[in-house]
């Protein structure tokens, strides 16, 4: 709890101004704390006479877990549109909310949101808390984290979900630590245990060689980031009704010490390998940078992104953002076509959860064939051009 040393307090009111939750007021020249206090500690830092302190008991015992109710998702919004993973979160979120018979809410942060909140409602959100502010134009952990933290403290959802994207995996740990609760990264399955309403969060570990189911038994909210492209997206219903609330953050919560000076997009169609349905990836078998052009052509033909093994990236045939595997990105597209990739475990752990895997390699013993749905043993310089030709024929 918050302790106020009434001998030291001079009643200056700095803490009252500092408090985000209207939990302190100066009465008769002394600060008094009320039940809205969340022990965030900002008043303690602001006090010039050191009259405030928080009893340091790190083991968090939250008053009553049943006070926390509802499913909340963070809806990612970038470059004028809602990220696809948000609709997947609404899909799984709706399922969990219906099971618990609680509302599903979404927190939408960005600048120039337009009709995005209404879209979220049509995909299943009962309530959307939106903040449309120029300070949210570029992603910063601090501001995004502040707002999600504040909304969660006020609304007390039992579950908070976000996409396991670069953004989600960067700022959600900040929110969980601020809320003093547990967080499970990169979940591929979520279910609520009917007996006690605990969220069972299943995720791959050790690069996908092991699956683990994790729970957060004593603290709320139960937080998880969810791997994109695993959950089924919600169905849109344009007639669906929901509430859209313009959430007003305190101005100081819109300040970030970290500044984003510039946002640089890279050939978006081929580089964003974590979001596309199809990835065509190349490895050492391409021989050189020129050979790698073939991968790009096949990617173009199937409308996919370009991936690469570490060998191809280390040889500088293609940039690191394309790297799939243990020291690159983990992907799970519907279709993954591996060309000239031997299938070292470090690569396989990054793509083995793809729905369908095609491997083309001249070595019949290449370990990539162990995880391939369809394998072709052959010279990729012969196979791939024919494949491109055939696909173009099909697609007209």
């Amino acid at each position: 709890m918050l302790r106020i040393d009434i001998e030291a307090c001079i009643g200056c009111g700095v803490c009252e101004e500092e408090c985000t939750f209207d939990a302190i007021e100066v009465i008769d020249g002394v600060a008094v704390v009320n039940e809205k206090c969340t022990l965030c500690g900002s008043c303690v830092d602001s006090c010039e006479v050191d009259a405030l302190s928080i009893e340091q008991k790190e083991k968090v015992v939250q008053a009553d877990l049943t006070e926390w109710s509802g499913i909340m998702i963070y809806a990612e919004f970038r470059h004028g549109k809602v990220a696809p993973v948000s609709f997947e979160l609404l899909g799984i979120g709706r399922q969990l909310a219906d099971q618990q018979n609680v509302p599903l809410s979404a927190v939408l942060l960005g600048s120039g949101l337009g009709d995005a909140a209404r879209d979220l409602v049509s995909y299943g959100a009962d309530i959307v808390y939106q903040v449309d502010d120029p300070a949210l134009e570029c992603f910063t952990d601090e501001i995004y984290g502040n707002i999600l933290e504040d909304v969660a403290r006020e609304q007390k959802p039992e579950v908070v979900l976000a996409g396991a994207t670069a953004i989600g995996r960067s700022f959600i740990p900040l929110v969980a630590t601020s809320l003093a609760t547990g967080l499970t990264a990169d979940c591929t399955q979520l279910a609520i245990r009917p007996d006690d309403g605990v969220l069972l969060q299943t995720r791959p570990a050790f690069g996908g060689n092991i699956m683990a189911t994790i729970e957060c038994p004593h603290t709320r909210p139960q937080m998880a980031t969810v791997r994109p492209r695993v959950m089924k997206a919600a169905q849109q219903d344009p007639e669906r009704k929901g509430e859209i609330i313009d959430y007003q953050p305190k101005p100081e919560r819109l300040q970030s010490k970290v500044k984003v000076l510039r946002n640089v997009l890279e050939e978006q169609d081929q580089v964003n390998i974590t979001e596309g349905d199809t990835i065509v990836a190349g490895g050492r078998g391409l021989d050189n940078e020129k050979g790698f052009e073939l991968i790009k052509q096949l990617a173009d033909a199937v409308g996919g992104a370009v991936g690469a093994s570490r060998a191809a990236v280390d040889s500088e045939w293609i940039a690191y953002p394309h790297q799939v595997g243990q020291t690159g990105k983990t992907v799970n597209p519907k279709l993954y076509i591996a060309c000239g990739i031997s299938g070292a475990i470090q690569h396989v752990v990054g793509m083995q959860s793809s729905e369908t895997i095609v491997a083309i390699n001249k070595d019949p013993h290449a370990s990539i064939f162990d995880v391939a749905t369809y394998g072709i043993v052959g010279d990729l310089f012969e196979v791939v051009p024919k494949l491109i030709e055939k696909i173009k024929e099909r697609r007209g």
């Binding site: 790190e58 189911t213 957060c216 010490k257 946002n263 519907k334 394998g375 024919k386």
Partner: protein, 259 residues
């Protein structure tokens, strides 16, 4: 610039498998290595020190054997090494880990910059860096792929995003997590190896860091593992046969739903 680099000893992922029958982890003969991303964090710390002066302290939380990776980091240019080790830390999730590391860092003393790898390859959570920054109340940037400048107590850098990168400025003290693209780690020098061999590693236990016993290890964790199991692989596995043309024809037929 006083730099602290957090490093973790992990089992080499290629060796880790779960026995589907017994559901136990086959750890026999599994090699323990420095988390690959952390090697890049050490390298970046050493490069910053070489350009701007200061010291690099490597910090690891783990069993006594984790000393090996601290010595490896020293052989690659780190100056000091601290191991936080106590049986009470066992079973810590990222919440209890950031508490422990935060307490250890308070003990180590003032710093300007903390560097971490973007994630460890055993847990793959990527949560310790950001969580630690919050514990220490300092700003952070994740997925740093390039440091472009250091002026007026702020670092300029490129942060990797899903669709490109951001040019970012972070004031110090701060924390960065790095991706492997940031640099090519050096091989240990002979001088470094000598130093690593003779350096005495400072070891801190739960009492030394004045930790609250309830906040450590499994009892101090917010999450608990309920079940561990081997992943299932589904679907057909087929090697296509015939001439190249026939194989391509079959493949395109199979892939019809995706085209």
């Amino acid at each position: 610039m006083n730099i602290i680099v957090c490093v973790k000893q992990v089992p080499d992922a290629k060796d880790v498998r779960l026995d589907p029958k017994t559901n136990t982890m086959a750890r026999e003969g599994v090699e323990a290595i420095m988390n690959p991303f952390d090697r890049h964090a050490v390298e970046e710390g050493v490069r910053l020190k070489e350009h701007h002066g200061g010291t690099v302290t490597v910090l690891s939380m783990g069993p006594p054997q984790a000393e090996a990776i601290l010595r490896e980091a020293v052989s690659c240019g780190a100056d000091e090494a601290v191991l936080v080790s106590d049986r009470a830390f066992a079973g810590a999730d990222t919440w209890a880990t950031t508490y422990t590391l935060g307490k250890a860092i308070e003990k180590i003393g003032p710093f300007d910059l903390i560097l971490c790898g973007k994630q460890a390859i055993d847990g793959d959570t990527a949560q310790v860096g950001p969580g630690l920054a919050k514990r220490l109340n300092i700003p952070y940037v994740s997925y740093v792929r390039k440091i472009t400048g250091f002026e007026n107590d702020a670092i300029l850098l490129h942060r990797l995003m899903d669709d490109g990168y951001d040019e970012v400025e972070i004031p110090l003290p701060g924390l960065l997590t790095v991706v492997k693209e940031i640099n090519e780690p050096r091989v240990p020098s002979l001088k470094g190896k000598m130093k690593a061999k003779s350096l005495s590693i400072k070891t801190l236990n739960a009492g030394d860091i004045e930790a609250d016993a309830d906040s450590l290890g499994l009892p101090g964790s917010t999450t608990q593992v309920v079940k561990v199991f081997a992943p299932e692989f589904k679907g057909e596995r087929a090697m296509l046969e015939g001439t190249v043309d026939e194989q391509v024809e079959q493949l395109v037929n199979k892939l019809e739903p995706y085209l």
